[in-house]
């Protein structure tokens, strides 16, 4: 997929984040080229979700910089970062359970619409038009992930696999330039995971750069262009899937160290 050269879209430099005494990110640096799928992998507690949370402004970093297409975004608020074209899904599904499936995606269209309190309260004709557009495009995104038949149901009643797809649709509805997927395959069965892989490839065709945190190694190896491997808040390897797979440090992080018994 890495066809259009190497414009760096996301640049993370020396990123540090600690919670109390725990250093979740210890000076992490990497880049994501525009138009690729980059996977972030690592054992539990490696700091992957923290990385996503810092990039999307859930909490500010202690140090370091994050640049999106050359614009520095570190420390900005989530909602402002969303407006700059960063969207995401969540490891522990964060759908709006008491709203319908369609309404969930319509919330995704929020930053692409304008109506204020007076306009909506009085139902001015301009606002009614906008509302129709929001609804139509939300339906398009539902179709894109294959959930259009669920549009009218309460999102909380969907099975986990469909809730994950709904999160993807909602994230896409913001018209992002870069999409961060936090363990999208977690809890999915084999067939659903295959569907997810196909979906991610179709997202890429829409000129959206994808960053993916995932534990499903088959999926990661299949679809990613590059892989960043983290352990204890640090980068231990980065590169194409093949290179990473054979990296001794990566093997050590995942399987543990071989013990030398000769001294005993």
């Amino acid at each position: 997929m890495n066809t259009e050269g190497s414009r760096v879209f996301l640049r993370v430099e020396n990123l540090k984040k600690s919670f109390g005494g725990v250093q979740a990110l210890k000076g992490l640096s990497f880049t994501v080229t525009a138009g690729i799928i980059k996977a972030v992998i690592g054992p539990n507690g490696a700091g992957k979700t923290t990385l996503f949370n810092v990039i999307t402004g859930v909490f500010p970093p202690n140090d370091g910089s994050i640049a999106l297409d050359g614009v520095s975004i570190e420390g900005q608020k989530s909602r402002d970062i969303a407006r700059l074209g960063v969207s995401r899904t969540f490891q522990n599904v964060e759908i709006f359970g008491r709203m319908t499936v369609l309404e969930n995606v319509m919330v995704g269209r929020h930053i692409q619409s304008r109506a204020g309190i007076i306009g909506t309260g009085l139902r001015l004709s301009k606002m009614r038009r906008e509302e129709r557009q929001i609804q139509e495009s939300a339906m398009d995104y539902l179709q894109f992930v294959g959930l259009e038949h669920r549009a009218g149901e309460l999102a909380g009643n969907l099975p986990l696999g469909e809730q994950k797809m709904l999160e993807v649709a909602r994230a896409l509805a913001t018209d992002p330039k870069i999409l961060l997927l936090d363990e999208p395959a977690g809890g999915l069965n084999t067939r659903e995971t295959e569907g997810l892989a196909a979906l991610i490839m179709r997202i890429l065709e829409r000129d959206i750069t994808v960053v993916l945190v995932e534990h499903d190694m088959n999926l990661v190896m299949d679809i990613s262009d590059e892989i960043l491997v983290m352990n204890f808040g640090e980068k231990i390897a980065e590169g194409r899937p093949k290179q990473v797979k054979d990296d001794p440090l990566v093997i050590k992080a995942y399987l543990g160290e071989e013990v030398d018994y000769s001294d005993l």
Binding site: E94, F96, G97, H110
Partner: protein, 318 residues
């Protein structure tokens, strides 16, 4: 607007049109028209509170203060400056919106109990102001002889006139609120109630909408205050105390927090109980309120609006 809401609106309008006809022809309940005016006035406040609690997920124990600000602004401007009640109402709305904004911006950054405490404190401060600034408010004994509304030179002087005026405004506010609920703003509000972190990630300006709804609910309460002033013709601080704030929250909870129709239902029930049906209990009416609240929270957490659907579900299950 959803079809069901249209149906309910139509039903409510028909009920409101028939209510005076029936009530005024049955001597024993003739004064129910007066009670219904209070239901309307309090409904204005609780609709705003329902938006704030049920949709924005915030609580306020200070809405009696906004009600009082509207009431006193109207009362003072009309008696001391002989201003037109309509202009005074607009002035009240302006003042209350400003105060709600100033109070809302810092306090809505608080969560849960802290927000409740902050709004409670605000309510108490305003009430003390009503009590102490005697030159303006008449102090604890309040002031009277507040003129009524006039419409095109025709002065509203009967209960029926006020009934019509109050409920027209309630219906307007109801339609406005339903429109807001079924818009991008309503969705934004409901979304942040379900997952604030996801709403944030979608670019929803969560704090901004919390403040907007807080101000809107303050404005509703202020209009209610102006109506109250001109209908009752007399003001005293005890009508705007902490107990009223709590009762308003209770109305919303009893009716059903996540549904604006619940606010209407809860207000209707508790106002009739308070003004009419609980008189035999004298000061012990508070016990009845407590029992009702307890029963609702335990057996009908979604409030009275959920009663019929829940019965339906139980019926179906056999």
């Amino acid at each position: 607007m959803q079809v069901s809401n249209r149906k309910y609106l139509l039903g409510l309008t028909i009920f409101l049109a028939l209510f005076p006809v029936v009530v005024m022809n049955v001597g024993a309940i003739g004064h129910y028209l007066d009670v219904m005016i209070f239901v309307g006035i309090y409904s204005l406040i609780t609709m705003g509170l329902s938006l704030l609690m049920g949709y924005a997920g915030q609580i306020s124990l200070g809405h009696a203060a906004f009600f009082g600000l509207g009431a006193y602004t109207s009362g003072i401007l009309c008696t001391k400056l002989s201003m037109s009640p309509w202009l005074a109402m607009v002035a009240g709305v302006g003042l209350t919106a400003l105060v709600a904004y100033i109070v809302g911006v810092p306090s809505l950054k608080l969560k849960g109990h802290y927000l409740a405490m902050a709004t409670l404190g605000f309510g108490v401060i305003v009430n003390i102001f009503f009590n102490e600034e005697v030159y303006l408010t008449g102090g604890p004994s309040g002031f009277s002889d507040i003129p009524g509304f006039t419409v095109f030179g025709f002065s509203l002087d009967s209960d029926l006139h006020y009934y019509i005026l109050v409920w027209c405004l309630v219906l307007l506010a109801l339609v406005f609120s339903l429109n807001v609920i079924n818009s991008r703003i309503g969705r934004a509000l409901r979304s942040l109630h379900d997952s604030e972190v996801a709403a944030d990630a979608m670019g929803v300006e969560t704090s901004r909408y919390k403040v907007i709804i807080f101000v809107l609910s303050g404005v509703y309460a202020s209009v209610a205050g102006s109506l109250y002033t001109h209908y009752v013709g007399f003001l005293s601080p005890s009508s705007f105390d902490l107990f009223l704030s709590i009762k308003l929250v209770m109305m919303v909870v009893v009716g059903g927090m996540h549904n604006i129709w619940g606010a209407l239902l809860g207000t209707c029930l508790l106002t009739f109980l308070g003004n009419e049906w609980l008189h035999i209990f004298h000061d012990f009416d508070i016990l009845v309120y407590g029992a009702i609240l307890l029963a609702i929270v335990m057996f009908l957490p979604e409030g009275l609006v959920d009663l019929a659907p829940r019965m339906g579900r139980i019926w179906k299950r056999g």
